[in-house]
């Protein structure tokens, strides 16, 4: 019995099909599994291993290399605070300290209510809005302490649910087509259009 839902299994098969070699779908499938569970569970890694034809250990070994893939549970909102050079010059460490105090969770920790996980991030490419943070990979900045407190309130109250999907959901737009360049479907379409 698969851990991924039927719907996600179907999505997963479509993802695998767009790569010349199925192992290439490993990371996209990790994102897909995180979208379902919020983190990458051992059960999901077993499904992924089967889908791409490697062992679960290889999925785990690959996933642990990457910052965005969480092999332990995280909060509903992952707050990634950039402290790299451009943000540091604008007071990112003071902001991070404030965030840790305000939420009562240090870097790497999750609040007791499971609402927030705090991360110290490397440069997020939002340097023109420094200091910046990402919440579930959505940008906010420049932020000061008061700005963060308002943001946290809004997140807790669900006022940003539209802009900030739940943790793990990366891309809300799915591929709408299969491969065409070498497929029979594609040949038909070529006939039609030429």
């Amino acid at each position: 019995m698969a851990h991924l839902s039927d719907e996600n299994m179907e999505r997963a098969r479509r993802l695998v099909a767009v790569y010349p070699e199925r192992r290439s779908a490993l990371i996209p499938l990790c994102h897909l599994a995180q979208g379902q569970d919020g983190w990458l569970t051992p059960e999901a890694m077993e499904d992924i291993a089967e889908l791409v034809g490697v062992t679960p250990a290889e999925v785990y070994g690959t996933a642990t290399f990457y910052d965005m893939l969480h092999t332990e549970p995280v909060g509903r909102h992952v707050i990634a605070v950039c402290t790299n050079i451009a943000c540091m010059l604008e007071g990112a460490y003071e902001l991070l300290e404030h965030i840790e105090e305000h939420l009562g969770a240090r870097v790497g920790q999750t609040t007791e209510d499971g609402e927030f996980t705090v991360e110290e991030a490397e440069c997020l490419a939002g340097c023109d809005a420094a200091p910046c943070v990402q919440v579930n990979h959505r940008f906010f900045g420049p932020l000061d302490s008061a700005g963060f407190d308002r943001l946290a309130d809004d997140l807790r109250a669900g006022r940003l649910a539209g802009e900030v999907p739940r943790h793990g959901v990366l891309c809300r737009v799915e591929r709408s087509v299969g491969l065409e360049a070498s497929s029979a479907e594609g040949a038909e379409r070529r006939e039609r259009t030429s």
Binding site: M68, I85, L89, E122, Q134, H137, V173, A181, S183, S194
Partner: protein, 436 residues
């Protein structure tokens, strides 16, 4: 000098809906592709050669020359590098979010010129909105007939896959990117071969080009390579997107004619950086991403020119300029940059894996007031293990250039501000305000 050169890749961004197909088509979108399809692939390559387009990722390798290395084989791939993670670099982020169709059109043109029927855009995972817009644009481009079988009624077919990264700086290194795209840890591959054109994705010949490089192609094909080469000077042709951050009044992105515009223009002109924050004093600036050695006020009149910056001992790199002012602690700045490399080292090579961590620890103890007299020599000694001779361009002791990039900021900071390091050691701590 700020020239009146019209923007090439950011022209559309005056529109709030620049990411949509509708706006793209209303502003000349996919005309470059139509023009390209009316030409032979060789003729398209010729225009790109004429444009002398330098790769915009960081290494600045001529795009045309990269293409000509592609080994003729049955299966070849084009991979677009959108894993932008060099600290202070945010141009590709802008391009995928605000003009994804331009990226895609450039990719299709490149694929046509190369005779490739399968392309990938590797998008940095943290760009969630960018990825959504790229995927939407990809779907729309198929629908519009610009992707898929028989593009715009021609015999050329191309499939494009938008692929998400998962958070690792090293995947910007092209061979690590290919490993990641193959579903593995992002370990750079041992060289030679130096170029994926020889052995790339799944072992097949592959060209890897940057997002901004691709974004220039529709304009080049529409207006001709000569028109592009007429902008800039020498080998630095065209315009380039510069990302300005740090202690200036107006941080942001600026598309500027290469070579003719200077760092002074970029940092001080009222229409660009607007000068140092609060009328402060410039202390140092990084001219091209944190892998680049630092410059000081003496270098302000250098042009934004790949060769000139290289000859002056640094690099234009990823086109990101970080400004430090009189309130910046250079020990802390060097420490933070080194900490980045320590966190992002993939761990394959000893000098990088161990050296980055030691350097970070030594810099931190100096900053926190526990530095020792011998620490400056020790820092330079570890740097020498990473990049023997600490010359520019650096010598390499590691598989990829991440390791040899680490000494840039440390050696610059010590060379330019030795006294500030010594004050930290003597006085047992940082003399500057805490944050900067």
């Amino acid at each position: 000098m700020i020239t009146g050169a019209a923007p090439i890749i950011t022209a559309r961004l005056v529109h709030g809906d620049s990411h949509t197909l509708e706006r793209y088509l209303a502003t000349g979108g996919y005309e470059g592709l139509r023009a390209a399809l009316a030409m032979t692939p060789e003729a398209v390559r010729e225009q790109v050669d004429k444009a002398s387009l330098l790769g915009r990722g960081g290494a600045g390798f001529p795009a045309g020359r990269k293409w000509s290395m592609l080994r003729k084989a049955e299966i070849t791939y084009l991979v677009v590098n959108g894993d932008e993670s060099e600290p202070a670099t945010f141009k590709d982020h802008l391009l995928v979010e605000r003009d994804p169709h331009q990226v895609i059109e450039g990719t299709i043109i490149a694929a046509y010129a190369l005779g490739v029927s399968q392309a990938f855009i590797f998008c940095r995972g943290e760009f969630a909105l960018g990825m959504e817009r790229l995927q939407q644009a990809c779907n729309d481009a198929y629908e519009h007939g610009a992707l898929g079988a028989g593009i715009f009624g021609s015999s050329f077919s191309l499939d494009l896959v938008v692929h998400p990264g998962a958070g690792a700086y090293i995947c910007g290194e092209e061979t690590a990117l290919l490993e990641s795209l193959e579903g593995k840890r992002g370990f750079p591959r041992i060289k030679p071969p130096y170029f994926p054109a020889v052995i790339g994705l799944y072992g097949a010949p592959t060209v890897v080009n940057n997002i901004e490089t691709m974004s220039n192609l529709p304009w080049i094909v529409t207006n001709g390579g000569d028109a592009f080469a007429a902008l800039g000077h020498g080998s630095s042709t065209g315009t380039r997107l510069f990302a300005l951050s740090g202690r200036v009044e107006r941080t942001g992105w600026y598309e500027l004619e290469m070579s003719k515009t200077t760092f002074r223009d970029l940092i001080y002109d009222a229409s660009l950086g607007g000068g140092i924050r609060g009328g402060g004093e410039l202390k140092a600036f990084i001219p091209g991403g944190v892998s680049a050695p630092w410059f000081g006020p003496d270098h302000l009149d250098l042009g934004l020119d790949q060769e000139a910056v290289g000859a002056a001992g640094s690099m234009l790199g990823s086109g990101s300029v970080v400004v430090m002012d009189h309130t910046t602690c250079v020990v802390r700045a060097a420490w933070r940059i080194t900490r980045f490399f320590a966190r992002e080292s993939c761990g394959q090579c000893t000098p990088c894996r161990e050296g980055s961590g030691w350097l970070e620890k030594i810099l931190l103890r100096i900053e926190e007031g526990n530095g020792r007299d011998a620490d400056l020599d020790l820092l330079m000694d570890v740097c020498d293990n990473l990049a023997p001779g600490i010359s520019w361009p650096p010598q390499q002791t590691t598989i990829c250039v991440l390791g040899s990039s680490i000494p840039s900021s440390i050696a610059s900071a010590i060379r330019m501000f030795r006294d500030e390091f010594l004050v930290h050691v003597k006085e047992g701590g940082c003399p500057m305000a805490p944050s900067r």
